[in-house]
Amino acid sequence: MTTVRPPTDPAELHRLMSLMTGDEKHSAAATSTLDVLQVLYDRVLRVDPAHPDDPVRDRFLLSKGHGPMAYYAVLAAHGFLDESELATWARPGSRLGLHPDRVLVPGVEIGSGSLGHGLPLAVGTALGLRIRGLTTPRVVVLVGDAELDEGSNHEAIAYAGRSGMANLTTVVVDNASATHRGDLAELFLVEGWRAITVDGRDHDVLETALTAAHDDRPLAVVAVVEPKES
């Protein structure tokens, strides 16, 4: 199981995304998750493309499944997907849909797309690992700031915060797309989580936040990126 890998070249990730989108440049919306994903896969997650089902792997759950090009690009850069498959993206019969599907894509932990499902699934995964006595893997779930409007997340946040779920991390990619917007870090803090708000484009800061000690509580990292174009 690899824990430290050579950093991925951002230009390489954009090249891989272009194999899907056909665009040379990508909008902030298309890349809102890109830096978080790169830091997670380069520096944080212990996952191995040769053993994608290893019971002691870290679990990364992409709850915000819409616009998964950045995710597929990172998975390809790390050897979970062959880059030749990226060109099939969103075509009939492709494994690479407009939403990721765990049944089809190696390394993908959940099928997502409908908002508000990843965090409850992540809470169950974190709890399940603990029940099975697997104390080393961590569970990281990525949600969007607007996605947090879904009430299912609030059920999960309240429960996890009171259950000492130190193996759980939620990354909120905040591109200011929520209607009736509140304080995102506070949402977690009041429920007993540790929470930190950081620049979602700064890799070193993201790494520090994602690896911060949170020995007795779940961790929320609010990664702020450019506001979504209206």
């Binding site: 699934l121 809470v123 169950g124 029940i131 299912s152």
Partner: protein, 284 residues
């Protein structure tokens, strides 16, 4: 340890069977949303098997989402609440957090259609079997006796896949433990009644079915189509008596008999927005 107790209700039978499974099977985890959390033998089980009884509070979306996550780690969640809160409120979680993730779970409901008619529509779920039946891959058990509930719960936890067990406070006098459609009374092959779960004793007593062949099942999905075809004549009338929404099994009965002319009669609870408190007996 096996809890030696003569269960008097399906709910008691379920809770003791689930407790035995949690004691003996390292895959089994009982997942609750307050309902039954204080009922015997759950508190003692929670003390005996720390972490294996999970009570999320009154959070039924999380109830199912968390169960999906447990299943993703290889565990076998046994998820329980009143039927409306187990399969209606979190319906999308059944679809996505279980089915679409390709993981299994055992869902066990109480309340049935009108078990507590005094508390009204909010706790009644005559639609529950029809709702679950819209989703692919589910096994649906409707036990007719506490001993059947005990067996079906144990088998479901030990097995794989997606299972919905619908418990009721209504019961037949005796259990019938066979698989699929069981022949209870041989009568005309052209007048065949299928009694589901706790409707059996009332079907056997009903004048209108005096000359009929009576079949019984506690498993409505997958439906025993071959068993029905083997039991009926060439131009049968098949009456389905189900203790939930009338016509829930019309599709599967019709498919089972697509090889012959047939007439179907569907008996169940009517499709209505009930504001009645009490008095919901099936009319046979």
């Amino acid at each position: 340890m096996t809890t030696a107790i003569a269960a008097t209700t399906m709910r008691e039978a379920f809770l003791h069977a689930a407790a035995d499974a949690v004691d003996a099977d390292d895959r089994a985890v009982l997942v609750l949303a307050d309902i039954s959390a204080g009922a015997d033998p759950v508190p003692a089980l929670a003390r005996r098997r720390p972490g294996r009884v999970v009570n999320v509070g009154i959070r039924e979306q999380l109830l199912l989402g968390l169960a999906g996550g447990l299943a993703l780690t290889g565990l076998r969640p046994v998820v329980h609440s009143y039927a409306p809160f187990l399969v209606e409120r979190p319906y999308e979680a059944l679809k996505l957090d279980l089915g679409h993730q390709d993981v299994g779970a055992v869902l066990v409901s109480i309340g049935a259609s009108y078990d507590q008619p005094g508390i009204g529509r909010t706790h009644e779920a005559p639609e529950d079997v029809a709702v679950v039946d819209t989703l692919p891959g589910w096994t649906i058990h409707v036990p007719g006796h506490p001993e059947e509930a005990d067996r079906l719960v144990r088998e479901s936890i030990a097995g794989e896949g997606l299972v919905y067990v619908r418990l009721s406070s209504a019961s037949n006098a005796a259990p019938h433990h066979g698989a699929g459609l069981q022949t209870i009374r041989v009568g005309s092959p052209d007048d065949v009644v299928v009694a589901v779960g706790p409707t059996l004793d009332r079907v056997l007593a009903a004048d209108r079915f005096r000359g009929a062949t009576v079949l019984y099942t506690s498993t409505v999905r997958p439906f025993d189509a071959a068993g029905l075809r083997a039991a009926v004549g060439e131009v049968p009338t098949v009456t389905m008596v189900e203790p939930y929404l009338e016509g829930t099994s019309a599709r599967v009965v019709d498919e089972a008999l697509s090889d012959r002319p047939h007439r179907t009669v569907m008996i169940g609870h009517p499709r209505e927005e009930s504001h009645r408190y009490g008095g919901h007996d099936l009319t046979l």
